[in-house]
């Protein structure tokens, strides 16, 4: 459970070689999500990370706020020359996000941490060949 109003609570960010790994394990309230976004940007700069892996396999809900945060992180990381991969989204969450109208354009995805790592290594090794999945999604109801 979270402690309300606490300013010390933070989602931990792990450094693994030249990558950062974040495992989101709690139902985050909005300020916590916002602080994760800030912390990650700072850590990318500080560690000169080439990639960020965000594991959301524990998340039972992703709403437009968390979705926006994931998109922001990816966009800011890109500006800082790092790739972001979101891994482990559950089927029910994915189905709901599609219905909500959120397709996370610009966010790369993988099934699990291993595959996400593979993707990061591959794209860092072949930066030029990044096959942008630039996807626009049908948003019809």
């Amino acid at each position: 459970m979270f402690e309300s109003g606490s300013s010390v609570e933070r989602i931990p960010i792990l450094k693994m070689g030249s990558y950062l790994l974040v495992t989101i394990q709690v139902d985050m309230h909005d300020r916590l999500a916002t602080s994760l976004q800030d912390d990650l940007t700072a850590r990318i700069v500080e560690t000169r990370a080439r990639g960020v892996l965000i594991d959301i396999s524990s998340l039972e809900v992703v709403d437009s706020f968390i979705g926006r945060m994931l998109g922001n992180i990816a966009a800011m990381a890109r500006v800082l020359d790092a790739e972001t991969v979101v891994v482990g989204m559950r089927p029910a969450v994915a189905i709901t996000l599609v219905e909500l109208g959120l397709s996370l354009p610009g966010v790369r995805t993988a099934l699990n941490v291993d595959k996400g790592m593979e993707l990061l290594r591959g794209s860092v090794e072949r930066v030029a060949k990044v096959n942008s999945r630039g996807r626009r999604q049908a948003r019809d109801a």
Binding site: V86, R90, V93, A94, I95, E99, T109, K115, Q137
Partner: protein, 287 residues
């Protein structure tokens, strides 16, 4: 018919004694199913029901259990019987829940009303009629619960009838056969996404060669599945789109531009192999 003063009196005065008695009756009955329900659960259900019954008896008309005073009682019974239907209780095991309350109530009525035979007869009669009605209601709810179980089994059969197969390491195929309605498509697609997670497959081929027609809703479900799979980190290929279906899809204005489509399952498989090969062995030099 008014409330029954005696019944109202004894359930208020002896609620905990009646409860203890009733639970004992239920625990001793040969319809008891310890394998399906814990004693704690039984006690809790009984306690809750008796509380609701007391409130209803104090306010409500005993002759008409369809009135608003009886709503909480009816709803609780509906809940209990549906749950029991799902847990595998028989109809009579379920109805015993209500009928087994008769004895404890009669015993208390006898104790309280005393020697006034007319009054006692009256009170017992009203109580018995009341519990019979509630018992019947329980049986009806049980029946509804059984129907829900059957519907669920049908749904499970439907899932079984469209198995997801693993074609290759990292490649799944879902060959769809027969008419797709919206409900079936939804379940089949959810099933596919679950299998993607379980197997870690990065590509799924949805083959609709065996599907005669596709309507807007079904087409949209297909596309939403493709979008959801992408969010999870897997790609889908739709194969076997017949000319008529292609026409329908274009005619309906459903956009397929972001979806990989192939004429046959074999073509789709080739593409899938290329893709997984390219990501699994990037260092082997053929990229």
């Amino acid at each position: 018919m008014p409330t029954d003063p005696w019944l109202a009196h004894i359930v208020s005065k002896f609620e905990s004694e009646i409860l203890a008695d009733w639970i004992q009756h239920q625990l001793a009955a040969d319809t008891l199913r310890r394998d399906l329900m814990s004693e704690a659960e039984l006690v809790e259900q009984s306690r809750a029901f008796l509380g609701l019954l007391r409130e209803a008896v104090q306010k409500g008309n005993l002759a008409d259990t369809t009135g608003p005073e009886w709503t909480p009682v009816r709803e609780m019974l509906a809940c209990v019987s549906r749950a029991r239907a799902k847990q595998g209780f028989t109809a009579s095991e379920t109805a015993t829940f209500v009928f087994s309350l008769k004895q404890p109530l009669f015993a208390r009525l006898r104790g309280e009303v005393g020697t006034d035979v007319d009054a006692l007869g009256d009170a017992v009669w009203r109580t018995t009629v009341l519990l019979d009605k509630l018992g019947l209601y329980t049986a009806e709810s049980y029946q509804k619960g059984r129907e829900e179980v059957i519907a669920r089994q049908q749904q499970e059969m439907m899932e079984l009838s469209t198995p997801v197969v693993k074609l290759w390491e990292g490649i799944l195929a879902l060959p769809l056969i027969g008419t797709l309605d919206s409900a079936r498509t939804q379940i089949v697609m959810e099933n596919l996404l679950e299998r993607i997670v379980e197997t870690g497959a990065s590509i799924a081929i949805i083959d609709i060669t065996g599907v005669p027609t596709v309507d807007t809703l079904v087409a949209q479900h297909l596309l939403k599945t493709v979008a959801a799979a992408r969010l999870m980190g897997a790609d889908c290929i739709i194969s076997g789109i017949r000319p008529q279906i292609a026409q329908t899809i274009v005619h309906l204005g459903v956009e397929l531009t972001n979806v990989i489509t192939k004429a046959t399952l074999a073509d789709a498989f080739t593409v899938a192999l290329e893709r997984t090969g390219a990501t699994i062995a990037p260092r082997s030099g053929h990229v």
